[in-house]
């Protein structure tokens, strides 16, 4: 059974939809900026910048939707609606429509606002919608309600690998024969003083407060941590048979999705990269592909000193000398790291790279780390004609590795 991508949606620090995001990415723009919120100074937050959604959800959704949905679910709904409309608003039996939609952290704004309310005003003032707004399956449930998906609505949580895992899970759902269409993706809305302080406490994030747009710099020798971003990404996945029967436009094939785990350290990547390498190999095996078929990788590359090297080590193990032939893009340089939404928007970028035969640039690479001799794309690069294959990697705290593989649709 072949699975195809028929719709894309995104809201990111670069733009409020897929087109504006992709155009800004190709133009080498940065979505990272200084945070103007009063809490930055109030709590003396050590990191004063992030990648905030370019278009606030309140400009897209109704007041009531905003009141009843955590910001993470708001981004999810915006991305999923765009993907659904882009797919031509498919007519499908509700029982054969499923959702696989992730978040890494969940409704952190709702949870912490509610605790503030409890402390300041007492339990009776805690909003009755608090629980459904904070639960991590809230974004998936909001999409499921909106699209009337009755074939199962699930949320896999694996930190920054979450939404790549969601897309991988969609393959199994479609292969079961029980489902015709899956809306898959992920979201995050964690630009809140607590998560920012917590990531800063573990020295995971960049402190380049004076030059925020230069702070996310994967593979550069001066990289000093990731930059948090927010938003969401979604794709409509369906069996090729179903897509052709309804005359849908098709972006690409989804040909592989694999998940492995390191069991090495709760936050540090396995320096040997074995788990990551196994995930890449498993995705390629599922795709019936050889390593030489891969022309482009959207790398996880968060801009942390150790993470970028660990991923390189894993890729070198898998691809050997062929690695030099692969165009590598590290798009977090422009978007920041959307945590549970990262894999989803990067899968969208990977699909567009195949569809438009263009690998997007990696900005801020001024002085490439000699320990990471990858062929990094720094300005939009034409990809070869003919059938081509690309992968997108995501890794998460907990030792999670997830990889999805897409093939061009001819």
């Amino acid at each position: 059974m072949k699975i195809v991508v028929t719709g894309l949606g995104a809201t990111t620090p670069l733009g409020g939809d897929v087109r504006s995001t992709w155009d800004a990415l190709l133009a080498g723009k940065s979505g990272i900026s200084t945070l103007e919120q009063p809490w930055v100074a109030q709590y003396e937050i050590p990191v004063t910048f992030a990648g905030q959604a370019k278009v606030p959800a309140s400009e897209v959704l109704t007041l009531q939707e905003c009141k009843r949905l955590d910001p993470s679910s708001q981004f999810a709904l915006i991305a999923a609606r765009e993907a659904w409309a882009d797919a031509g608003t498919p007519s499908v039996e509700p029982e054969r429509l499923a959702v696989e939609f992730s978040t890494g952290i969940g409704g952190v704004w709702t949870l912490l606002d509610a605790f503030d309310t409890l402390k300041e005003r007492g339990p009776r003032r805690v909003l009755p919608m608090t629980v459904p707004m904070l639960m991590p399956n809230g974004p998936a449930a909001a999409i499921g309600m909106d699209l009337a998906a009755r074939g199962g609505v699930r949320t896999s949580v694996s930190a920054c690998a979450s939404s790549t895992e969601a897309i991988a899970n969609a393959i199994t759902r479609l292969q079961s024969g029980e489902i015709d269409i899956v809306v898959a993706g992920g979201c995050e809305a964690a630009i809140h003083p607590l998560p920012i302080s917590a990531f800063a406490a573990m020295h995971a994030t960049s402190r380049r407060n004076d030059e925020p747009e230069l702070a996310s710099r994967p593979y550069d020798v001066a990289r000093d941590g990731f930059v948090m971003g927010e938003g969401g990404g979604a794709m409509v996945l369906e069996t090729e048979e179903h897509a052709l029967a309804r005359g849908a436009k098709i972006y690409a094939y989804l040909v592989g999705g694999a998940v492995t785990s390191d069991a090495y350290h709760i936050t540090a990547p396995d320096p040997e990269g074995s788990g990551a390498a196994r995930a890449v190999l498993a995705a390629l095996k599922q795709a019936n592909a050889s390593i030489e078929d891969v022309v482009h990788i959207n790398a996880h590359a968060t801009s942390t000193p150790v993470g970028d090297i660990a991923e390189y080590t894993a890729l070198k193990r898998v691809f050997g000398d062929h690695l030099g032939q692969i165009a590598i893009s590290a798009t977090k340089a422009s978007t920041g790291h959307l945590l549970g939404g990262a894999g989803a928007i990067e899968a969208v970028f990977t699909v567009l790279a195949l569809k438009e035969r263009t690998a997007p640039p990696t900005i801020n690479l001024d002085n490439q780390d000699p320990e990471i001799p990858l062929d990094v794309v720094t300005s939009p690069r034409k990809l070869p004609d003919g059938p081509i294959l690309a992968i997108s990697n995501s890794f998460g705290f907990g030792g999670h590795n997830a990889v999805v593989a897409f093939r061009s649709y001819e």
Binding site: L63, Q64, K67, R124, L127
Partner: protein, 81 residues
């Protein structure tokens, strides 16, 4: 000074509008919260808690089920301010 029932109605209509987006004019004395205005129990609890703050009254949870129509709520608030 206690508010008149008209003033309570106007204030309550504002709270309903904030919570549900319904036009304030649609909040009339003879309307049922659930049947006419389509306000669910979760929105109703939010409106009740906001009404307590706005009007300085205490509306016990066991009283909320008796507030079927807008008039029930306006009368309760006006009588207990």
């Amino acid at each position: 000074m206690a508010l008149s029932k008209d003033e309570v109605l106007a204030g309550l209509a504002e709270l309903v509008n904030e919570e549900t987006g319904l036009a304030a004019e649609s909040v009339q004395m003879d309307k049922s919260f659930s049947d006419d205005l389509d306000i669910d129990s979760i929105s109703m609890m939010t409106i009740v808690v906001n009404a307590e703050d706005k009007f300085g009254v205490k509306i016990p949870d066991e009283e909320v089920k008796n507030l079927v129509t807008v008039a029930d709520a306006v009368n309760y608030i006006a009588d207990n301010q």
